[in-house]
């Protein structure tokens, strides 16, 4: 019943704080991803749970037992590595049976467990091959089977998909989730790719600079980010600066800077004169001709376009000079695209944040 509790975990490499008082709880049979840009400390958490990294402070509880000082071999974990780490001098069979042999299991047991693990990932036909003859996805399957054959209920995955081609990655990530759920494992998966995280996880812990910013389900994280950084990391958004001009029930009107256009937002939590950052996702903007007096319709000038196949990205300039980007389905683009158009977006798709001390820092993807 793996139930992992991490309490006040801190770790510094010289002056760099890799982990800064991290608290995290992972529940039994949960698929949790640690998501964040490189250097955010996600791998350090994983390696600390595995025992490959010794934290400076804090403790890690595994089913209530403090394992912080245990060596990795006594922690009962299964780990999958970014670069597979399939032992190059052993064939597939010897790799998968390795954790069983070093624990002195009997031949019968070894065969039973290993064959089952290899069947699960579908590597059984390649049992006698050596790693140098296997492709990257096959190697990762061997790595996975090897982790399964430890019999551990906790699976630690360190960027297991990042070295695979994007085509295999999609296939593999579905396969992975299915296997983990099928075997009733608890999985902690480190990735820097938000698409993988959204797709595979029950919950995502988003990290930055050694701290966890938000832990939530993928949906919550996407639709209710608690910071500009989270919003920016999970989706391609526009960030506009403005000041609250009018407050009504359940909605407020914000005027964009430089006496720009007004935008109505779906909240009344901000005081008047409050300086805000509004975010609108690129793909929630649509082009419209209707010159009605409805809310949230703005005039914009197209200054550049990037054709990406199914979608096209437009760079727009608003009346006050602010830039925006809009991602439009290519088939929806009007035939005669003028220089000045009107754009619109739904009021519920606008999120608002207090203007931060340092917007550039919040928007930096690191």
């Amino acid at each position: 019943m793996p139930h992992i509790v991490i309490k006040d975990l801190s770790k510094a490499y010289g002056k760099v704080k890799a982990l800064d008082n991290v608290n995290l709880e992972v529940f039994d049979k949960e698929y949790l991803t640690l998501l964040g840009p490189s250097g955010c400390g996600k791998t350090t958490i994983l390696r600390s749970i595995a025992g490959l990294e010794q934290p400076d402070r804090g403790e890690i509880l595994f089913d209530g037992k403090n394992i912080t000082d245990l060596p990795p071999e006594e922690r009962d974990i299964g780990m999958v590595f970014q670069h597979f780490m399939v032992f190059p001098f052993l064939n597939v069979w010897d790799n998968v049976t390795y954790p069983l042999r070093i624990k002195g299991k009997s031949e019968v047991e070894i065969e039973e467990i290993a064959v089952k693990a290899m069947e699960l990932v579908g590597i059984l036909p390649r049992i006698n091959e050596f790693p140098e003859d296997l492709s990257a996805p096959e190697l990762q399957k061997v790595g996975l089977a090897r982790a399964f054959s430890t019999g551990s209920k906790l699976l630690l995955l360190d960027e297991p998909l990042s070295t695979l081609d994007s085509k295999f990655r999609m296939e593999f990530q579905h396969e992975l989730r299915k296997l983990v759920k099928g075997l009733g494992l608890t999985a902690i998966h480190v990735t820097h790719d938000q698409r993988v995280a959204m797709n595979i996880a029950d919950r995502i812990a988003l990290m930055r600079k050694g701290r966890i910013l938000q832990i939530a389900t993928p949906m919550q994280l996407y639709y209710a980010p608690n910071s500009i950084f989270t919003c920016n990391f999970l989706s391609n958004s526009n960030f506009l600066e403005g000041i609250v001009e009018k407050k009504e029930e359940k909605r407020s009107t914000v005027r964009l800077r430089g006496f720009g256009p007004k935008i109505v937002i779906p909240t009344d939590k901000w005081e008047r004169r409050k300086r805000l950052v509004l975010t609108i996702r690129r793909n929630e903007i649509s082009f419209s001709y209707a010159k009605s007096s409805e809310i949230n319709i703005l005039n914009a000038e197209i200054i550049d376009e990037h054709f990406l196949g199914a979608r096209t990205i437009f760079q727009l300039r608003l009346e006050n000079g602010d830039r925006m980007e809009a991602e439009i389905l290519t088939k929806d683009i009007p035939m005669h695209l003028g220089h000045v158009i009107t754009i619109s977006f739904n009021i519920k798709d606008i999120m608002s944040f207090e203007y931060p001390e340092d917007l550039d820092y919040e928007l930096a993807l690191e």
Binding site: P71, P72, E73, M79, F81, F89, G104, R146
Partner: protein, 555 residues
């Protein structure tokens, strides 16, 4: 002057000169280095009748020489084998400590390890002899009047362990540092305790390096002459036997023994190149309980302590004992060196100058012909031929230097293909020639990784900018190569300075420093030997100090 230089370079960049340069480099390598070594086979075969007569049917000695030859060979292998095993046992943990642990003073241990490597083996052997074999050494501390051990197999092994130790430690350290630790992490995450990880994961990953290091140590021990001359007593090893027969004028048996040693060395080299990858280690069975017990931290600490003790007691203290001797017997040293009737000081200076000039000349030739060779091996796209050259380069490295010296002596001398007068007679120039043969691989081996680390893109860029090949070399390649050449030169120079075995065979009336140390110890002039040893140890160590500066700076 600039314009003239460019013009000359442009002329030299001609295709013709390029081909000429390659052919000259390879021609030199084949004719000066490889052919003389292999000539010993032809020599033995064409004179088989005389050699057979000498070995088996000598009118006075009967088959005594054959018997001596077998004994010497057997001894050499026995000693080299035992030394290699002990080396691996005490060298592996040290390599592990140096590669994996960070601790204060590591830098100093790292450079102390190199001490036996830098110092001429004769000086080293003398120091160790003083420590174990005389009452000036360890036994003196306990008030004994004789040494703890007498000259013979045991002391030969002690000496050989000391001077092969750095080879094995440095080799293994490099290998261990190259092992990707994530494999070990993977194994630990799968539940393997420390000892099991080392045996089943690290071991196989470093196997090739371990075997290469062991073979290197084995060939070093097999071929060592300088230090062995001092401590062998009556236990002749093969190189000693060659030197002895050469001095007695028994060329037949000496040639036969040389040939066997060359053959063995070539086989070992072949083994190294072809077989090591296929050697399997027994890693499938795991002794769970025992290995878990062996993985305890307390055992690791005990091991580290023991290794430190062995290192200090077996390697460092004996190597530096000459300094202690000089410190406690300064008046004896003074009277023997400066006041003796035989004027040892003059003899010392003469041989010192000879050593330096020989080493300098050999290094110069190795630089001039080593650079193009390294470039050929790294850059030319010759397929198989290149791989063959790459293997041939190592031949002088693995052959016992006495055998190598004897081959060269036979080839250029009165018994060789140049007729009854020979081209070179024993003496200064033949020593230079032998040292070139002996040192050449060191130079090329140092340069190869440096040349391959230079991105040919820079040179291509320079070519597109209009520089002819020679100008590209001067302006682009040379600045990147410079440090490597300096490092290679220092290594070559110290190798030449310390060489004894081959020098003893070809020296004629010329003496180098290691040779006079051997001579003086034989004449029981310990004080004078100590004087010569200390000077050459300091001199070599200063050179190595600069070498480390250079290599560290370039990292």
């Amino acid at each position: 002057m600039g314009r003239l230089l460019l013009k000359i370079e442009k002329g030299l960049s001609n295709r013709f000169f390029g081909i000429f340069g390659d052919s000259f480099t390879i021609g030199f390598f084949i004719l000066i280095i490889i052919v003389p070594i292999l000539y010993i086979f032809s020599f033995v075969i064409t004179r088989w009748d005389t050699i057979y007569f000498n070995l088996f049917n000598h009118p006075i000695l009967g088959d005594k020489q054959w018997f001596d030859l077998l004994t010497a060979l057997g001894r050499s292998f026995e000693i080299a084998g035992i030394v290699t095993i002990i080396d691996v046992i005490i060298g592996l943990p040290m390599a592990l400590i140096l590669a994996r642990y960070q601790f204060r003073g590591k830098k100093y241990i790292d450079s102390l390890i190199d001490l036996p490597l830098a110092v001429p083996t004769a000086a080293l052997g003398f120091s160790i002899y003083l420590f174990w074999g005389t009452h000036y050494g360890i036994s003196g501390l306990f008030g004994l009047q004789t040494g703890l051990f007498s000259e013979g197999p045991l002391m030969i092994m002690l000496v050989h362990i000391v001077f092969t130790y750095p080879y094995i430690v440095r080799n293994l350290k490099e290998v261990i540092m190259r092992v990707d630790r994530t494999y070990e992490h993977a194994a630990r995450s799968l539940g393997a305790p420390g000892f099991t990880v080392f045996r089943t994961i690290t071991g196989p990953l470093m196997k090739e390096g371990l075997i290469a290091g062991a073979i290197l140590a084995f060939t070093r021990s097999l071929g060592e002459t300088g230090a062995t001359m001092i401590v062998f007593g009556v236990t002749e090893t093969s190189p000693i036997q060659i030197v002895a027969w050469r001095q007695l004028g028994l060329f037949g048996p000496a040639a036969f023994l040389s040939m066997i040693l060359v053959l063995v060395a070539l086989l070992l080299l072949l083994l190294l190149k072809l077989i090591t990858r296929r050697v399997g280690l027994p890693i499938h069975r795991v002794f769970v309980r025992t290995e878990r017990a062996l993985s305890q931290p307390i055992l690791r600490k005990t091991r580290n302590g023991l290794i430190a003790l062995v290192f200090i007691l077996i390697v460092i203290l004996p190597s530096l004992w000459t300094f202690v001797y000089i410190g406690t017997n300064s008046s004896a040293v003074y009277s023997q060196v400066f006041l003796g009737a035989d004027n040892k000081l003059a003899e010392f200076w003469l041989s010192f100058l000879a050593s330096l000039s020989i080493a300098g000349l050999a290094t110069l030739v190795c630089v001039i012909l080593g650079i193009p060779m390294a470039i050929i091996i790294v850059r030319r796209k010759w397929g198989k031929l290149k791989a063959i050259l790459d293997t041939l380069i190592d031949i002088p490295l693995v052959i016992p230097s006495a055998a190598l010296g004897f081959s060269v002596f036979v080839f250029w001398g009165t018994l060789g293909p140049f007729g009854p007068n020979g081209l070179f007679s024993p003496g200064y120039w033949l020593i230079v020639l032998v040292h070139i043969v002996f040192c050449y691989p060191y130079m090329v081996r140092v340069l190869i990784p440096i040349v391959s680390s230079i991105d040919p893109g820079y040179e291509e860029a320079a070519r597109t900018l209009g520089a002819p090949a020679f100008t590209v070399f001067r302006t682009c390649t040379w600045p990147l190569l410079k440090r490597g050449v300096l490092a290679g030169s220092i290594i070559t120079f110290t190798r030449s300075l310390g060489e004894t075995g081959a020098t003893l065979v070809v020296m004629g009336l010329t003496r180098t420093i290691p040779v006079i140390i051997v001579d003086w110890v034989e004449a029981q002039s310990l004080a004078a030997s100590a004087f010569a040893s200390v000077i050459i140890i300091i001199f070599s160590y200063v050179l190595i100090f600069f070498l480390r500066k250079i290599t560290l700076a370039s990292e």
